[in-house]
């Protein structure tokens, strides 16, 4: 069943990344990044010409990266370091906040990919998971004692609600794929729009905070929020959340690598028939993979509500779509999701700096995102280039990417 619909691209993609050495994978990601930066620079030059402002791509990327960490380097003077810079600053908080959310979203996409499923619906799972967590916390918080005990009870509860709702919403395209053979790429895209529309309707009609004009729920009580411990309270970043994200990464890595569920998931992704002979129930595997993926997306949404906004409001940023980029850049490897998320965290964290300091629209980051995926999609081009430059592909690469059967 799973090898009937668009199987080949996804499978070949999978085979490529699994069959190749980790080193080659990393090299290709880096080559794609560099190419994306070069092409984006050309676009920036053209855009500068168009708008009559002289954009300097080198300066833009320097300010972007520097700004993401709160400007540790003094770019304007001969001094190397900015005086009085501390690693705990607002921009660093923004960068790490984005990184945290992207780790969960990236893991969600990666888990599905490992099972040969393309979950474009993380955005929808995230929207509903975040809404459910916010509503549940607003309702439950009055019945729970305050202080540390309250936080220890409410924060895991909120994340759990997000995971359950996100997981259930992920199970829908899973079940449609498993039992009705409906293509998950299409259904998840449709479900994204449905989730956003439904959440908007629910909040505007029933759950809106009556004191506000906007489509926003009542505020999550402070005791149930993921607040800053070391980083400033207003920075919307909690170190606890980042630690949870890193733990989740290790957890997903462990489950995929060392448990029988993970084995079934990977094998049904790679070799559906083999998994069947091994006793795995293919249909149920598809549903559970999508549920796990959706649950991770739901947690990302809950984090957004509990850490960033302190409520749920309309206009959820496209963390779910960025998760696809992160996962693809990471070669769908859970551990690789961490550096890939950090990279996109830096891009987001630094986008304000290029806007304020240089007047470059922060939407440039979305252009970079597209370019990175574009070049990641063509490993063969880099391999050809590598051959021409005399870098021989590893043995594993030859069997993995070259001659298919």
């Amino acid at each position: 069943m799973s090898d009937r619909q668009y199987p080949a691209p996804v499978q070949r993609f999978f085979r490529f990344f699994v069959g190749n050495s980790v080193v080659e994978r990393i090299l290709i990601s880096i080559a794609a990044l560099i190419t994306a930066v070069i092409v984006s620079s050309l676009i920036v030059l053209a855009a500068g010409y168009l708008s009559g402002e002289a954009y300097n791509p080198l300066e833009i990327f320097a300010v972007l990266v520097n700004g993401a960490f709160g400007s540790p380097f003094d770019l304007d003077s001969a001094r190397l370091f900015t005086e009085g810079w501390s690693p705990v600053n607002f921009s660093m908080g923004t960068t790490l906040k984005e990184t945290t959310l992207l780790i969960f979203a990236g893991l969600a996409v990666a888990v599905a990919f490992r099972g040969d499923l393309f979950n474009i619906g993380v955005q929808g799972q995230l929207v509903l998971g975040g809404l459910a967590a916010a509503l549940a916390l607003v309702w439950v918080a009055p019945f729970v004692p305050g202080g540390l005990v309250g936080s220890l009870l409410l924060i895991p509860f909120g994340l759990l609600v997000g995971a359950i709702v996100g997981g259930l919403y992920g199970a829908i395209p899973g079940a449609l794929k498993a039992y009705a053979d409906a293509n998950e790429v299409i259904t998840t895209i449709m479900l994204n729009t449905i989730a956003t529309g439904t959440a908007f309707f629910l909040v505007s009609a029933y759950f809106a905070d009556p004191t506000l004009q906007s489509v926003k729920t009542k505020a999550i009580p402070d005791v149930a929020r993921l607040n800053g411990i070391i980083f400033p309270q207003g920075g919307q970043f909690s170190l606890v959340a980042l630690v949870l994200a890193l733990l989740a990464t290790v957890g997903v890595y462990y489950v995929l690598r060392y448990t029988s569920f993970g084995y079934d998931l990977r094998v049904s992704g790679k070799q559906a028939k083999a998994a069947l002979y091994g006793g795995a129930n293919a249909e149920r595997m598809v549903v559970s993979t999508m549920s796990l993926s959706g649950a991770l997306g739901g947690i990302a949404g809950a984090m957004w509500s509990m850490m960033v906004i302190g409520a749920w409001r309309q206009g959820v940023p496209s963390i779910g779509f960025d998760g696809i980029t992160v996962s693809v850049l990471a070669g769908n490897n859970p551990i690789g999701v961490i550096p890939a998320s950090l990279l996109f965290g830096v891009l987001k964290g630094g986008s304000n700096a290029i806007n304020f300091q240089l007047g470059v629209p922060p939407e440039l980051v979305a252009v970079l995102r597209g370019m990175i995926i574009l070049f990641i999609a063509m490993p063969e081009a880099f391999r050809m280039l590598g051959n021409r430059l005399g870098i021989k592909p590893s043995q594993a690469a030859v069997t993995g990417g070259g001659g298919d059967e």
Partner: protein
């Protein structure tokens, strides 16, 4: 479709299509036609009542706005057929629509924004931009054997990134300034025909072009050797190779055609109706490219069925806009807006698996390597 030579086979094809479109789509279309008929009857028999108000929605201007709304979906859906039948799934249709819509507005704006000639040049500039992006996609998947899904996704994200970014560069906002739209074309005489006259012969040139493209696509795919090559390229490329036709070239043409047609869809949307580019959120295209993919799965790769599905979705959208204006209908507009998306899922759940060309997604390497 009253042109004499193709008449008989056209009729046969319609019958064929109705036979192989599947039970659920047939029911949906049947129900729609029946409700239109009932609506007309109610309107005639009990004018002035509430049912008549609802039935009054289905008038000539409803059909006109449905056709205008269907432009991006139908063009992209037709383009998607050419790409996917040739063996390359183009999931990046959405990105092609975005880039062509943006380029059309930008070029028209830079040429002054008012003159009809500027709008026409903008239209073709949009088509050119989309075609170029589709060519990049084709090189990626055909030359560099990129994964088709990932590369298509990249095309979408490139469009989604470039449109709003360049809008800010030009207009200082993700939304553009307004431009003129194309004047309506009125065919003297024919536009006097009741009902059909104003719909087809007193319409935006983009709508007329769309109706012509539907028929031409159908003819090309079913009655020319190029159509057979496209089909063989997706179903059995090695036999096409054996017959002496270059599979890569056929696939290039298929993918580039998807760019050309999507270009008319995206650019046609802005020069025919919208008159500006909106880049906030998912941009003004808002998923039309993905709905287009569903329409050709729904229409079983037949241009007539695909166009019917596209017009159906557009009709739901037009209906939703009109229902909002009727005071006594309590349904919230946010939910009615979701009807097309929900129906796509229901349709996919019931129709389930559409038989896609067997070699879609497979890279083809001819033996001579």
């Amino acid at each position: 479709m009253s042109n004499a030579p193709a008449d008989r086979s056209a009729l046969g094809s319609v019958r064929n299509w109705i036979a192989n479109i599947g039970r659920i789509p047939r029911l949906v279309i049947g129900a729609l036609l029946a409700s239109m008929f009932v609506g007309a009857m109610i309107n005639v028999l009990m004018p002035g009542t509430r049912p008549a108000t609802v039935a009054g929605i289905f008038n000539v201007s409803f059909v006109e706005s449905t056709l205008r709304i269907s432009v991006p979906i139908v063009f992209a859906g037709l383009g998607g057929i050419f790409a996917e039948k040739s063996g390359v799934i183009n999931i990046g249709l959405e990105g092609l629509l975005i880039i062509s819509a943006f380029t059309a507005v930008a070029v028209t704006h830079l040429l002054g924004g008012d003159a009809q000639s500027a709008v026409w040049i903008g239209l073709f500039a949009g088509v050119l931009a989309s075609t170029f992006l589709a060519l990049v996609f084709a090189v990626l998947v055909i030359e560099f054997r990129a994964d088709q899904i990932i590369a298509g996704l990249a095309i979408w994200l490139v469009g989604l990134g470039l449109g709003p970014f360049l809008s800010i560069v030009i207009w200082g906002s993700v939304n553009s300034a307004s431009i003129s739209t194309l004047n309506t074309v009125t065919v003297p005489g024919l536009s006097q025909i009741p009902v059909l006259g104003p719909i087809i012969f007193d319409a935006s040139p983009i709508v007329i072009l769309m109706l012509v493209t539907i028929v031409v696509s159908w003819f090309v795919l079913n009655h020319t050797s190029f159509g057979r090559w496209i089909e063989a390229s997706g179903e059995n490329p090695s036999s096409l190779d054996t017959a002496g036709v270059n599979v890569h070239r056929v696939r290039y043409v298929g993918v580039v055609l998807s760019g050309v047609l999507s270009g008319f869809g995206g650019a046609g949307l802005v020069v025919g109706r919208a008159g500006r580019f909106i880049g906030s959120g998912q941009t003004m295209i808002a998923g039309d490219g993905f709905i287009a993919i569903t329409t050709y799965l729904f229409g079983n790769y037949n241009p007539l069925g695909t166009a019917a599905a596209g017009i159906l979705f557009a009709g739901l959208d037009a209906l939703q806009i009109r229902l909002q204006q009727i005071a006594f209908i309590p349904a919230p507009s946010e939910l009615i807006r979701l009807v097309p998306y929900v129906s796509v899922i229901i349709v996919l759940a019931f129709v389930g698996y559409t038989r896609i060309p067997s070699e879609v997604g497979e890279h083809y390497e001819s033996g001579e390597e």
